[in-house]
Homo-oligomer: 268 residues x 2
Amino acid sequence: MHDRPSPTDLERFLSVAFAITDETRTLVRAALDRGFAHRHKADRTFVTDVDLAVEDRIRERLAVAFPDHAVLGEERPDRAGASGYEWVVDPIDGTLSLRHRVPLYGTILALRHRGLPVVGVIDLPGLERRYHAASGLGAFRGRERLRLVEPESVDDEIVAIGDRRQFVAIGKRDVFERIVAGHPVVRTYADCFGHALAIEGSVGAMVDFGLRVWDVAASEVLVTEAGGRYVELERRAIPDGAETYDVLFGKPAVVQHLLELLGSGLET
Amino acid sequence: MHDRPSPTDLERFLSVAFAITDETRTLVRAALDRGFAHRHKADRTFVTDVDLAVEDRIRERLAVAFPDHAVLGEERPDRAGASGYEWVVDPIDGTLSLRHRVPLYGTILALRHRGLPVVGVIDLPGLERRYHAASGLGAFRGRERLRLVEPESVDDEIVAIGDRRQFVAIGKRDVFERIVAGHPVVRTYADCFGHALAIEGSVGAMVDFGLRVWDVAASEVLVTEAGGRYVELERRAIPDGAETYDVLFGKPAVVQHLLELLGSGLET
């Protein structure tokens, strides 16, 4: 289609996203040095001062760079835009980790064009790593191109999984238990850290259930541009009018192995 | 006793350990850049070229600095020494992580004097973090003194646990499952990464079973010097004449909470 973003457009979107995550890293580090407050949200997860400050900064920068782009973020109301472009923002993915100073949290920025993911960025300030991808331009960690390769043995791969309570909350404890018992090494590398490890192939796959749109918005383009397979197992409406997502992605052979592990269980 | 190590002695031991881990970090980074081979050991865990090169370097440096100290390491035969001092060395703790380039592996150096732990160092090259402690001198991450504080709520704490297969291998799958099901957020932060997080209080406690002596040798002095509680739940002889260790350590209130979780189960 004539209005799909060109490589030049995509490079510009990425360059703004990089400038934004340079700034948000600085905000996160300052907050860690200074300390920050947190409170429970209605869904019993946490929000901190940092989440709010980071999302506000992202929104300010996006509004200046792309005044006609819509913005959907975890902590603030949606902003509409007529361009067909929509940014999806998770200012701090892994708030529980950040709050406890486990360095495995991150900031997620994704851009969709007419509903299709076109740019994905995961920035991990605690590890000083940034992953990015754009449709047709490849996936990268920093300047290094990422290309997933199939493992010699699926059983030697680590599988990453979200926190057990994400599965329990949506009535899928059995999925968590089947994966954990069915594969030799399964580690709860929750949030965007697990996503990033799957994108670069350090884990064979990530199994993450009960997510909101901002948790997954960057991962599809990142993993597919890296040569992996992205499977959305289920999308469900939840009471507030939003949806939750159950996803599984990574090296195609490992994704297939886990689908079989889940499928065989679902038939019993 | 007159022959206990003085603070001056301890500072000298630490300073040699720091110089050694500066070198081993360089070895690990060079190996990651260059790539490295791995093979299965008899116990079905992995050893890599890096493990062997790092242990050899540590042994060379210790032999020069402390010719009368004994050395016990994971990969090479024991060296005897008549001084009463014994270094316990795990060149790469988290070989599976290193092999897959998950940045949560480390190098462990511990010194025991007449069997008692006096110095502990955990170095995490992938995170550029080093933790150290010496008896009576406190625990530190880099230059920052670590002092564990009790949580406002035990339920808000993350609990770290070793890989499930460590528990399964020693017939204690029930312990793994009881912890994972009994506490709100339990994450498999295996190996010295989980230990380090417990020492600095990012997780409330670490539950690690089926360990060898080099896996735990640094942690007792680190966690007790940080103001935490270290519990050795069981030590068992294994066929090759060695022993395995089941340990639980961290903030005292979280350790107590987990002991109760395990104890109530053991009584049923």
